[in-house]
């Protein structure tokens, strides 16, 4: 019900669309609420992970399985992708050339896929070293927490592809824009969760 101008990144729906503004405000707020509900899930998985640290049952522990280098590479990929999504948001908001927008989005998508690829490679290496979830409670907790983040990144990537398709079909109409705005929130949010993962799981485990 507020009449203050809406300042969500990327949203610039034009004057004649007061109702569209209102609708998208609900959409974005609703998405925030959803993210916060999701955050509780992550929080509880973090807590579970910490309580399972002692449950290695004689299997490999964090010190043997985690590598600082690959964690750093993954962190960098995700952080840069957050920044490039920010650039895409700017391009959307100030209606620069659509090619610029699509370009930034594609770069973001590639970074996200690179992250996923690297993470999968990491898991593969852990598997070959005996780090499988059925080995111990600790590994179960790890493979619930970190891959869930990866699953979110996968979902976000699929959504990004779908939105690129929407841009191609419908152009930059209200629905595409609000879609991009919500995806932006999801993307940045995943980076925030990753901060928790690299700090607690990787740095905490190898320190």
């Amino acid at each position: 019900m507020s009449s203050t101008p809406i300042r969500h990144p990327g949203l610039n729906l034009g004057h004649a669309h007061a109702e569209a503004h209102e609708a998208s405000e609900s959409l974005v707020f609703g998405f925030w609420v959803f993210m916060m509900s999701d955050l509780i899930i992550f929080g509880l998985l973090f807590a579970t992970y910490v309580t399972m640290l002692g449950g290695t049952a004689g299997g490999p522990g964090p010190g043997e399985l985690f590598e600082l280098k690959s964690a750093f590479i993954e962190t960098s990929l995700l952080l840069v992708s957050s920044f490039t999504f920010g650039m895409a948001s700017l391009a959307l908001k100030y209606r620069t050339d659509r090619k610029v927008l699509v370009g930034w989005l594609v770069v973001t998508l590639l970074l996200g896929l690179a992250f996923l690829g690297h993470e999968l490679y990491d898991f593969h290496k852990m598997f070959t070293e005996g780090g499988v979830p059925s080995r111990s409670g600790f590994l179960s907790a790890f493979f619930a927490l970190v891959p869930l983040h990866g699953l979110h990144v996968t979902a976000a990537s699929i959504w990004l592809i779908a939105l690129l398709g929407q841009i191609a079909v419908h152009g930059l109409d209200t629905q595409t824009k609000t879609g991009l705005m919500r995806l932006a929130i999801l993307w940045h949010f995943l980076d925030v969760v990753w901060i928790g993962i690299f700090s607690l799981v990787y740095l905490g485990g190898t320190a």
């Binding site: 203050t4 807590a47 750093f72 700017l90 901060i195």
Partner: protein, 115 residues
């Protein structure tokens, strides 16, 4: 939609927002490098290292919210901010409670689970 000429005001705004993203990126990068660097290349005490990791992580989360997700103290962001703060409260209760309860249970019934 084709390329469009921005008004002066819009151009200023855009430049400002671009700066904000860059600041955010820079800060986040530094806050990532500090703990990684300390963990990889130095031999400081583990307890200190945990503290550094924790503090850098928390600051970086705030940086992300401020510069990437645009959550500020501005009036039109109040609802989002309230929502986030309430979530933090609930998270604290649930996560803190879980850790408190479970480690107490371990201590009294299952000491082998305490790492």
């Amino acid at each position: 939609m084709s390329h469009r000429q921005l008004s002066d005001e819009e151009a200023r705004e855009k430049a400002q927002e671009l700066r904000s993203y860059c600041w955010g990126f820079g800060l986040a990068a530094v806050l990532t490098l500090i703990p990684f660097g300390l963990a990889a290349f130095t031999q400081i005490a583990t307890a200190t290292l945990y503290w550094v990791i924790g503090v850098c992580g928390v600051i970086q989360i705030v940086v992300h919210f401020r510069f990437f997700l645009h959550i500020t103290l501005a009036r039109n962001k109040r609802e989002d901010l309230q929502l986030i703060l309430f979530t933090v409260l609930i998270l604290t209760i649930m996560v803190g409670g879980t850790l408190w309860i479970l480690f107490n249970l371990y201590y009294r019934m299952m000491p082998s689970m305490i790492p």
